[in-house]
Amino acid sequence: MHWRMKAVERVSVTINGAEYSHEVEPRTLLVNYIREQAGLTGTNIGCDTSSCGACTVHLNGESVKSCTLLAVQADGEDILTIEGLADGERLHPMQESFRECHALQCGYCTPGMVMAAVSLLKENPSPSEREVRLGLEGNLCRCTGYHNIVKAVLHCAAGASATNGGAQ
């Protein structure tokens, strides 16, 4: 027998290592759940067309657009948002690279860009410039500041490989 959700249903997720559990309508989008129920407003809503990527978070370690998932689809899963990336006061290397390379202007796309870029480097640790541009095609910067964003991702990748090389 299938089990059927009532008009309001409970969703339990892990976000940035902490457990959250709320009753939601099935039509609740994950991004609205993260912002309004979990109270984590670092993830932005930028468009209504699954285009801009401002809402990018990681679901089980991979980038997804949280405006194009229902919260019920994430039930039981592991989510990482921009708030969970830094280690206390120490920025994640990708955040550090964005700061270093001036990869943000208005900053609205930045949380999604950073999350997409971290996911990209997990899948392809040493991308070419073209691969970075293709890898970030799901994220729009309304300031059109792509040049420094790409630089930041390449800077971060180079830093990671230098660190690994040093460790050997």
Partner: protein
């Protein structure tokens, strides 16, 4: 925007999903990765009363080398198709085409079955399946059946699936022949204004199919016939738009789409070594 309210059913097997569809009929929609359905629901272009979530049917997530064909479970994500060594070795065109779908975030969630069952003429994946001569497997209350890709796309966003059927598998004949894929759009991540898939198949025939040139994904039959008759790439591409009924929209007039079909078909055929 937020979708209109609906009842949510999470299926834990294909049989449960079929039973839920049988109960709710046209009021129900299947939710796989959700990257075609949820945008439609957010714009209220689709307002299903019941959403049957099949996204957790893990036994429909697989890529199997079956010798003369590759079998892909309907819930297999684009990311897994794109990075599969079996796909690259035996149905390379499909891997390449899949890597052009949407963007990385979309490919982390979207599924091959969802993309096919949505029946969108602007989707890239059906063109690869038509060119390669795929067979689609559907399960319903009275069992399973195979549907040739040529019989599958019935109209704009319409397929041969009945309301109570679930697409379970895509079977693609293996080929080590060369292939080409061309996609023309104005911006990264956009749908193709026109696209073309071409593949040299194991039977030495050449499959050619077009994206966004007709109310359905469509085989470029005139081009295939010309190639079979000995025409070269340039000559065969001249008839690529024959039999197609493209629409005019903000991106392109009918004539421009026909022009693109000819140019992209020639390039795809040349990439396939023809």
């Amino acid at each position: 925007m937020i979708p209109a309210a609906f009842d949510y059913i999470r299926a834990t097997s294909a049989d449960e999903a079929i039973a839920a569809l049988a109960e709710h009929g046209d009021d129900a929609k299947l939710l796989a990765g959700g990257h075609s359905l949820l945008p439609l629901m957010r714009f209220r272009l689709a307002r299903p009363a019941v959403v049957v979530d099949i996204g957790r049917l893990n036994d429909l997530k697989y890529i199997r080398d079956e010798g003369d064909h590759v079998a892909i479970g309907a819930l297999t994500r684009h990311r897994d198709v794109e990075t599969s060594e079996v796909v690259a070795a035996k149905v390379g065109l499909l891997g390449e085409v899949t890597s052009h779908v949407g963007d990385p975030q979309v490919r982390h969630r979207g599924t091959i079955g969802g993309a096919v069952a949505h029946g969108d003429p602007a989707s890239d994946i059906p063109s690869a399946l038509i060119a390669l001569g795929a067979v689609l497997v559907a399960a319903g209350p009275s069992g399973s059946r195979e549907i040739s890709v040529d019989d599958f796309f019935a109209g704009f966003l319409e397929t041969a699936l009945s309301p109570e059927e679930v697409l379970t598998e895509v079977r693609i004949p293996a080929t080590d022949g060369a292939w080409g894929f061309e996609k023309f759009n104005r911006r990264a991540q956009d749908w193709a204004i026109v696209g073309c898939s071409a593949a040299v198949r194991a039977d030495a025939g050449v499959g050619v199919a077009l994206v966004n040139m007709h109310p359905t994904p469509i085989r470029a039959g005139a081009t295939e016939a010309a190639l079979a008759g000995g025409a070269g790439a340039a000559q065969a591409a001249e008839v690529a738009a024959e039999g197609c009924d493209p629409t005019e929209d903000l991106n392109a007039s009918v004539e421009y789409r026909q022009h693109l079909a000819r140019v992209l078909t020639r390039r795809a055929l040349e990439a396939a070594g023809l």
